[in-house]
Amino acid sequence: MSEQAAPVIQINGLSKWYGSVVAVNDVSLEIYPGVTGILGPNGAGKTTLLHMMTGLAAPSEGEVRVLGQEVRGNPQLYRRIGVMSEHDALYPFMSGKEFVALAAKLQGVKSEAAVDQAVEDVGLTEAKDRKVGGYSRGMRQRIRLAATIVHDPEVLVLDEPLNGADPRQRIHFGELVREYAAGGKTVLISSHILEEVESLAGQILLMVSGKLAAAGNYRTIREKLDERPFKVRVVASNQREMAAALLANGVVESVSLEDDAIDVLTGNIGEFQTTVARLAQETGSRLYRVEPLDDSLESVFTYVVQG
């Protein structure tokens, strides 16, 4: 990636609102060749942002340029862009190969070899003549990916491409994307699972509540997440002794005694997990339950934003 090179995707002050609901709020960013992950909880505005990047939705405010051009109302630009939406959109009456061939024809690709190659790239050669209506969710995702890459676009925009994929398919997808990006192309992948884009994306953009909350490589984002305090609920017998032992040990930052549980805040979740069992033994307490209270993505992202 070269910061001196012109950005492949350039977004300035982009906003989108539906009535009083703000889906994307004043986002500015630049995307360069390589793999970029857009990460955020459901409802963070990732899909709306991608829709505006690909010309499917009109911005309420701001500007999007892809490969130096306006994307909205510029259909010829789609010869250089491949777009795979999050929706399971297929024509069920077509076979896998027919579906990819349709995409190829609509893109002006005449070579049948390109169609076969795209189908092979996603590992569906054996199933290519079956109707896509009978495909599994993972197979449908893969055939849609084949249809997206059949014209060998310079920019690939994939919205939640790993939905429904099993671990083997995820590995295969990762190889495909890395190979694609290695050729100097730009791949943009959205996901609501950090680990999903961990091994793929050199650059991660964090979206929260319609805003670009953070941008950086995986290590930077991961470190921020690991630093955050976790709320954990402990249900045990001898609650007061357990609470005192936890505080005395120093593994928790605070303790609050609820009716039938202890809620603790810890800055080191790993150490807490090993310590809590030992302390239970030492205080003669019986541990019934240890559960995270705020391990949702929303809380993680919110922490990153506030941090």
């Binding site: 499917l56 259909p75 862009i81 777009v83 959109a89 024509y91 061939a101 995409a103 609509l106 002006g108």
Partner: protein, 238 residues
């Protein structure tokens, strides 16, 4: 590219269920016309079977059944994005969709109109039948543009279509003076009457001049096709 897009549009438009429904609907005017022919020597075929059942019912309903799904199903199935992220101008996509709808509905409407007219008792049956076929086909063109637009702007296009056919075309046009100049049904009937020599004078609606009827069809088609293209250009594709 055109062949691929048209092939998909035709395959979507001509789903077995939809075609079966239209063919079943066609049996109504054809059956009534046959009964009138056998029982009364063809008397009232034009008034009842052609005017009321073909032009008033089969033509708009069959076109509506196909045209509202041209974009309606793409929006509902979220496949519209597959088409709009391809290097094809959106006007082109609209024209192909309209073409696919017409490729199915125009011959069917014209065919039913021709057969029903031939079952009547007119003296110049062949000429009248051709006039009926042309009028029905041009009516299908105007209806297709209206219902294709409706399928893109509302998820309740069928409800809109039924209200339009039953309330406007069937009721309001007969009640409001001058509204006949704003009726696709009346355009179709006036074209039929303008192209033949008097067998269709039994039509209840007062006809309008042939050039005005032809202009009406052209204006409706152009305006609603333009509105569909504009909508497809401006909408946020789901």
């Amino acid at each position: 590219m055109s062949g691929a897009l048209l092939a998909v549009a035709l395959r979507q438009a001509a789903s077995p269920g939809r075609l079966g429904l239209i063919l079943l609907l066609a049996l109504l005017p054809l059956g009534i016309a046959v009964i009138l022919r056998v029982a009364a020597g063809g008397e009232d075929v034009i008034e009842v079977a052609l005017d009321l059942l073909v032009i008033g019912l089969f033509l708009p309903i069959s076109v509506m059944t196909v045209a509202t799904t041209a974009f309606g199903n793409e929006v509902e199935d979220r496949t519209l994005g597959l088409l709009t992220t391809k290097p094809a101008p959106r006007a082109y996509i609209v024209l192909v969709k309209l073409g696919a709808t017409l490729a199915i509905t125009a011959p069917l409407s014209a065919g039913v109109a021709v057969v029903v007219t031939l079952l009547g008792d007119g003296e110049s049956a062949a000429r009248t039948a051709v006039a009926a076929g042309v009028g029905a086909a041009l009516g299908a063109l105007a209806y297709a543009s209206i219902f294709t637009w409706a399928g893109l702007v509302t998820s309740r296009a069928l409800g809109f279509g039924l209200a339009y056919v039953l309330l406007w075309e069937a009721l309001m046009v007969s009640l409001i003076d001058g509204a006949r100049f704003l009726s696709v049904r009346n355009y179709a009937k006036s074209i039929m009457q303008g192209l033949e020599d008097g067998s269709l004078d039994v039509f209840t609606q007062t006809p309008i001049e042939l050039p005005i009827a032809l202009a009406g069809i052209a204006i409706v088609t152009v305006v609603f096709t333009y509105l569909t293209v504009r909508r497809l250009n401006r909408m946020d594709v789901p």
